[in-house]
């Protein structure tokens, strides 16, 4: 088995190793972590013929520059509308190409999106924690954030020429300005007019945006005067309102419990598209019934499976056996 050795020339903030995450440890204060945009992450892996949950590099708006010191490895970039510069060519994310010794790969933000995923035909070597390489950024546990000067190794690196080319970008990967929520579980702490103001919006994402969550700017949501709730569990997608009436949507590295009320919870189906909104983008929340949320989750699971099955086919039909 050959390996590819990559040197990190530059890594922006919030660039980290992620795999499918470590679900099941929330009871111990550990969120699942994993990719912010899980659908694009899976697409990057599957487009290379990898299992969907293999470790990748999650790249923020800060961008990433790698230099290939040795070896040859085919890579895929999926998520957002990023710019991929490599071997004198300029492409967008949603593409597969091959990186060779001496070449430089630069990925930086383009016209849309916040996060993109760089997957390799091989296995990225990194430190695991509780069975996953996903980085939990505040604790530094897991594979870790990338820093300039660091060296990465891709074990079992392969050239997969039949995979090279474009990956279809599904419409569901686009940022979503209308984000569906189920109200609660602590909406009772807010006056009826406050819940109405929350649903009327609009809200703007602020720069206070990292893997833990994103603070919103928009109608204030003062909790009721008699706010006295014990700490309650938090999920990815919880819309938590602090004492000052400011809402934060909690994301992949969220705290697992907290004493602020959650006025609503973003449905899982819309979270991948929500995180691709950029700071200063506008959005509104729309409330749906829990039954409809479950129905949407089932529809999405089926359409995601169909999409990944199509992406899993090699792009170069002539290379098929």
């Amino acid at each position: 088995m050959s390996e590819a050795v990559l040197s990190v020339g530059f890594a922006g903030p919030h660039v980290s190793i992620q795999d499918a995450g470590r679900p099941g440890f929330m009871r111990f204060g550990v969120p699942a972590s994993g990719p912010m945009d899980r659908a694009s992450f899976a697409a990057a892996n599957v487009a290379l013929g990898n299992p969907p949950g293999q470790p990748v590099i999650e790249i923020s708006m800060g961008g990433l520059v790698l230099e290939c010191l040795s070896g040859t490895v085919t890579f895929a970039v999926a998520g957002g509308g990023f710019v991929v510069e490599h071997g004198g060519r300029r492409a967008g994310s949603w593409s597969v190409a091959t990186l060779r010794a001496g070449e430089r790969l630069a990925i930086r933000p383009g016209h849309w999106g916040n996060w993109t995923y760089l997957a390799f035909a091989g296995r990225l070597d990194a430190r695991g924690w509780l069975g996953s390489l996903s980085t939990h950024v505040i604790s530094g546990l897991g594979g870790g954030r990338l820093v300039a000067g660091q060296t990465l190794t891709v074990a079992g690196a392969e050239l997969r020429a039949e995979r090279e080319g474009a990956i279809v970008c599904p419409v569901t990967a686009r940022p979503r300005q209308e984000v569906r929520v189920v109200l609660g579980p602590q909406d009772r702490f807010f006056a009826r007019e406050t819940v109405a103001a929350f649903l009327a919006g609009p809200y703007r994402l602020t720069d206070a945006y990292d893997r833990m969550g994103v603070r919103l700017q928009g109608p204030a949501l003062p909790p009721g005067a008699s706010l006295d709730m014990p700490s309650e569990p938090i999920v990815r997608g919880s819309v938590q309102v602090a004492g000052d009436g400011v809402a934060t949507v909690l994301l992949a590295d969220h705290q697992t419990t907290g004493g602020y009320p959650k006025i609503a919870t973003v449905i899982d189906t819309d979270l991948d598209a929500f995180v691709q909104l950029r700071p200063r983008d506008m959005m509104v929340f729309r409330a749906i019934a829990p039954e409809e949320a479950v129905e949407q989750a089932r529809l999405r699971a089926a359409s995601a499976a169909r999409y990944l099955a199509a992406v899993a086919a090699p792009r170069d039909a002539s290379a098929r056996p």
């Binding site: 679900p23 099941g24 440890f25 929330m26 009871r27 111990f28 204060g29 550990v30 924690w129 509780l130 939990h136 505040i138 604790s139 546990l141 929520v181 189920v182 609660g184 579980p185 006295d228 709730m229 014990p230 700490s231 309650e232 569990p233 999920v235 997608g237 705290q255 697992t256 419990t257 907290g258 919870t265 973003v266 449905i267 899982d268 189906t269 829990p290 039954e291 949320a293 479950v294 949407q296 989750a297 089932r298 699971a301």
Partner: protein, 233 residues
């Protein structure tokens, strides 16, 4: 040990498309927490199809599920049946021991806690050691367990402002709660000691965290030499 259900509870609240919050009360009370732990144990012993995980808190249990397999109504029916069978009764948790050194340089707030409580530092240490603590829930950061049971005489509100860079292993108190930190972090709680006891124990696949919610905890005082020997990386 039967906890009397609070009137109107349990209450079921849907959480987006993949969880159900089961509330046993709206305040921090032992009766509600016992019911949380009892239901948590019953689900672990007898999970339903599509169960993914449960997250215990003071007065509620979050029950997460795969929406492709089941839905809020199905989970509520299953949880109600477990409660009807008497599942929401806590068994006695295991007793865990946490070593703590109270030397002044490891316990920067001991003198202030003593002054605010009208006690000597040694009396604060004695009170802290006397506490019979129970693990209420985890939160804030990986492995950070809220331990309820700080004796009355050393209960203080949190400080006005958080102190940054408090080292991992710090034993901190505020109100009835005590916590042993697992990361370097800011905190507004009072730092009364430092522990070398590891709470994140990845090498132990069966029990990667020292405590389960519902366990009981006792602190044991150790001398500086023992702390230095154990705290080595």
């Amino acid at each position: 040990m039967t906890a009397a259900p609070a009137a109107g509870f349990p209450r079921f609240r849907p959480v987006a498309d993949r969880a159900l919050l089961v509330e046993f009360g709206e305040t921090v009370a032992k009766e509600s927490h016992d019911r949380v732990i009892g239901l948590d144990a019953a689900l672990a012993a007898d999970p339903f199809d599509g169960f993914t995980e449960a997250v215990p808190a003071y007065a509620s249990l979050l029950v997460c599920f795969d929406p492709v397999v089941t839905d809020h109504r199905g989970v509520e029916d299953r949880v109600s049946a477990l409660i009807a069978r008497g599942a929401a009764v806590a068994a006695q948790g295991a007793l865990r021991e946490v070593e703590v050194c109270y030397d002044a340089d490891l316990a920067p707030d001991l003198a202030a806690v003593a002054e605010a409580s009208g006690l000597t530092p040694e009396e604060v240490v004695a009170a802290h050691l006397r506490g019979d603590y129970g693990v209420s829930m985890y939160g804030f950061a990986p492995g950070c367990a809220y331990l309820a049971g700080v004796p009355e005489e050393i209960r203080l509100p949190r400080k006005q402002a958080a102190i940054r860079g408090v080292p991992a292993g710090s034993v901190i108190i505020a109100g009835p709660q005590c916590l042993v930190t697992t990361l370097t972090m800011p905190t507004g709680w009072w730092i009364v000691g430092r522990s070398p006891t590891r709470i994140l124990r990845e090498e132990d696949a069966d029990r990667p965290f020292l405590f389960d919610v519902g366990d009981r905890v006792r602190f044991r005082r150790i001398a500086r030499e023992a702390f230095d020997a154990r705290a080595k990386p």
